[in-house]
């Protein structure tokens, strides 16, 4: 006689473990008064170039550090170390995204109380990072002018989970006939109301606006902690 199959209700979020860890990280960041910004984009959009500029300009005002994720090599960390802020490389091996546990491990040995701002640069990938909460306050999605204006429509999930969009390599916009209006429309279509910045890490164009925006957010977090 064969056994009768029956259904038992379970109801369990598959990423529960990651979500719980991310929640715990967020609590620790808040308690220490650290504002956390993550960067996601496809490979080659210019996350590291933007980050290098941001670290150099923000380090005078805030106590800042960065974690950078890649499958292999510590080239990015070495490059960012030039900005003279604490930087740690997370090498994921074959994993195509960062998870909360990797962030938690990378933070070991750092005292959060000594920080006010932490950047987390995700692995270059517009698909997988969208499902993983890292405990960040702000998720920035980057799109370079050389990638095409329809990228948000091709990867709606990651754009939808991000809070802010940054269009990079604006110095090349004219050469590649970048249609800024179309890019903005597509971003708004997948994430209505999203704030968009246009920058060039190379020339510095638009960097002030982005810096100002982040400054306001960081100040709010740090002042809440001070109270």
């Amino acid at each position: 006689m064969s056994a009768q199959p029956r259904l038992v209700e379970v109801r369990q979020n598959v990423l529960k473990q990651n979500d719980l860890l991310a929640r715990e990280l967020r609590r620790r960041f808040r308690e220490a008064g650290v504002y956390v910004v993550s960067l996601v984009s496809s490979p080659g959009t210019g996350k590291t170039a933007l980050l290098e500029k941001m670290l150099t300009t923000l380090r005078d005002e805030w106590r800042v550090a960065a974690l950078v994720g890649d499958l292999a090599t510590d080239n990015d960390a070495a490059r960012l170390a030039r900005s003279q802020v604490p930087v740690k490389q997370i090498t994921t091996g074959t994993v195509c995204h960062l998870e909360a546990a990797m962030v938690e491990r990378a933070l070991e040995g750092w005292s959060l109380d000594e920080l006010e701002l932490l950047f987390i640069e995700n692995v270059g990938n517009l698909v997988c990072p969208s499902s993983y909460d890292l405990g960040e306050d702000l998720r920035i999605v980057l799109l370079s002018v050389t990638e095409g204006e329809d990228k948000p429509l091709k990867y709606p999930t990651i754009f939808n989970t991000a809070d802010v969009a940054v269009i990079t390599k604006m110095d090349l916009a004219e050469a590649v006939e970048f249609d800024s209006h179309a890019a903005h429309t597509n971003i708004q279509s997948v994430r209505p109301g999203m704030e968009i910045f246009e920058v060039s890490a190379k020339t510095g164009e638009g960097m002030d606006k982005l810096k100002q925006f982040l400054g306001t957010r960081i100040a709010a977090t740090v002042s809440v902690q001070a109270i």
């Binding site: 029956r6 598959v14 994993v95 997988c128 999203m194």
Partner: protein, 122 residues
Amino acid sequence: MHELSIAMSMVEMAAEEAARRGVKVSAIHLKLGGFAGVVKDALLFSYEVACQGTTLEGSRLVIEEVPVAVYCPTCESETTLASIQRLCCSACGALTSQIVRGRELEVVALEIEEEAEVECEV
């Protein structure tokens, strides 16, 4: 492709549950939202791979797709998106970012078979 690690954690979770209850799992029922960031076909493929060599080998993955639904503050209605490339109210067309459903990645039920000796007692 993160579907393999997702499949592996599902299999692990189901195997633990099965061992705890002393049963065999013949299927996992999963709710998958359109905005979960997981590709159905890739997950189905990964599931088979993840099951190999475990107590779930030969089991099925039953996926219930959950369309993305949004709330529209303009006309105060809840509608299902026609496309995840355009977050707008299907009733009035206004853009809205208030997602009410569609991020699910949740195991809702396990289909189990009682072990033979339990059957005999009945």
